[in-house]
Amino acid sequence: MTHIALAGGALLILIGVWGMLTKKNIIRIIIGFSLFDTGLHVVLVGLGHLKNRTAPIIDSDLPREAAASRVVDPVPQAIVLTAIVIGLAVTAVLLAFALKLYQSRKTLDISELREGNND
Amino acid sequence: MNFDPMKIPWSLLGLFIVFCIGMFIRGFVPKITARVGKRIGIRIYQPWFDYVKNFSIQTSITHGYMFYLGPVFRLTGGIGMVLFMPLIHGSWYFSNFAFAGDMVLFLYLMFFGTLGMALGAGESGHPYSAIGVARGLAQVTVAEIPLVLAMLAVAAQHHTLSISQIVAAQQGGIAHWTMVTNPVATATGMLALLGSMMNSPFNVVLAPQEIPIGPPTEYHGTFLGILTTNRSIFPMAKIIFFMNIFFGGATNWAILILKGWLIYMWPVIVGVVFPRFRVDQSIRWFLKVPLLLGILAVALV
């Protein structure tokens, strides 16, 4: 299970990078970025997983005293939550840029966006 | 050696003798030239007439104070060269002020007169004077190259720059002359001599008719007289210099006259045989054979 998650995550990362590097449409590039980001998150969680352990949520099934021995490492889980938020923010900023760029040039082709480099 | 006031009259006597020899040669050389052209030529004492005539000119003009001083510089340079030259080897009376300087002084004193004259001629405002000076300077820069090389070679050979000592080192027969002991340097020096004696093929500086006569175009009367005085002294100083460093110097006046006359004949003979070079041609000429000979001369020391 862990390996599948890790492999899947790695695949997502590669797809994402591939998308960012090859697609001409800005939106697709941003999607590529999202995939890359998501892949990272999957890898993150996958690496934090411990066999036969449960989610680090302390409730009635999981007493506080037993938590240390029965839950997976909570740190990656915490990290991934933050990372998701941040990834969202970055995606949002990227989209904001994409919108503004589209408004100013009426195109989403990334190869058109290279003004100012001819000097 | 220190200064002795008695040197002054003896030096002046030596100077006068040199002047007379110069005047004589100045009469003699055109005679030779004339004979080569199958003419009778001037009277041998003609330079004296011309000399007196120039001082008898009653009117004169001046273009300014540098113009006025030009001939003074010129003659001072010429006289200076004689005064710092040991004329007769072994003679206290005719060793002049040679103790105060050496070959280097001689070489640079040559330019004293040249520069003053050039400036005087320049102030006349005559474009031809300036052209003549420009030619002369351009030519002298290369004509000096073999001369300097020959001088260096001789100085290194005799381990001294002092003219008196070089003469002393050559005493004792023709086999000790630099001419024999260092023929390459001598040849170089003699080629250099051609360039500075104002004879064809290197007399484009004066180039009569083309730029009337170059630098002294505006000089006349007394000025010309002084320049003429220098024309008798200056070449003689050079000739004596060559005699001293290449041909064993002179132990009495007869030898001096003989050797001086013979050396003087060299540029004269070359002059009557060869036509005139343009300045750039003469520059290139000096940069070929004389330069190589000169380098060979110092390389052999």
């Binding site: - | 003419r39 009778i40 003609q46 011309d50 007196v52 000119i57 009653q58 009117t59 006569i213 505006e218």
Partner: protein, 213 residues
């Protein structure tokens, strides 16, 4: 004096100030020639002897007669042996040979050259043309009598005179000089106004100072 060739003009100096340049006054010396006193008699005799034996001719052939001077430098005639020499500049010459006819145009140059020679200086008129116009006696454009314009010391007659005549003329001139009678320069200075009047009468475009130093 007309200044057609050298009009006065306004010039702005490097400091921005404007001033007038009058070439005739600014470029040329305005002095008149002076009569030169001779030195003491003995010295003067000595000098005259030297002067007579050192005749330097200014190299300016004014007319056809100049062709007769050339042979003098050849082995056949060889004038050098008499102390005759040719100089390229009038500054250093003391003999001016007006060689043959003298057109008005050339006269102007001849006057300049003559005045630029330093005294004592001598003029030889060569050929009949310098005496009375010769074959150009009715030409509108040649000088008929040279000594109206320049003080002539001796004439050599003929049309053309042979080089031998020229040599003879030199010998005559030498005698005159030795006798101390070759005072052309002083004569010119003494009768300066007369000469100038004569010169200006026929030279219409007089555009030089009265005396070209």
């Amino acid at each position: 004096m007309t200044d057609k060739k050298y009009p006065s003009h306004e010039v702005t100096g490097p400091d921005g100030k404007t001033f007038t340049v009058t070439p005739m006054e600014d470029y040329y010396c305005q002095e008149r020639p002076q009569v030169q006193k001779s030195a003491n008699a003995v010295v003067e005799k000595f000098f005259n002897w030297a002067r007579a034996n050192s005749l330097w001719i200014v190299g300016f052939g004014t007319g056809c007669g100049a062709i007769e001077m050339r042979p003098l430098r050849t082995p056949r005639f060889d004038a050098y042996r008499y102390g005759i020499n040719w100089r390229a500049t009038p500054r250093q010459s003391n003999l001016f040979i007006i060689s043959g006819y003298l057109s008005v145009k050339t006269l102007k140059r001849a006057i300049r050259v003559y005045e630029q020679m330093q005294g004592p200086k001598y003029v030889l008129g060569l050929g009949s043309c310098t005496i009375n116009g010769g074959m150009y006696w009715d030409s509108y454009n040649t000088v008929k009598r040279l000594d109206y314009y320049l003080p002539v010391d001796a004439y050599i007659t003929g049309c053309m005179p042979r080089p031998e005549s020229l040599l003879d003329g030199f010998e005559e001139l030498k005698k005159i000089i030795m006798a101390g009678e070759a005072n052309g320069a002083n004569l010119y200075a003494e009768k300066f106004d007369w000469y100038k009047a004569n010169q200006k009468k026929i030279i219409k475009n007089w555009d030089m100072p009265d005396y070209s130093w």
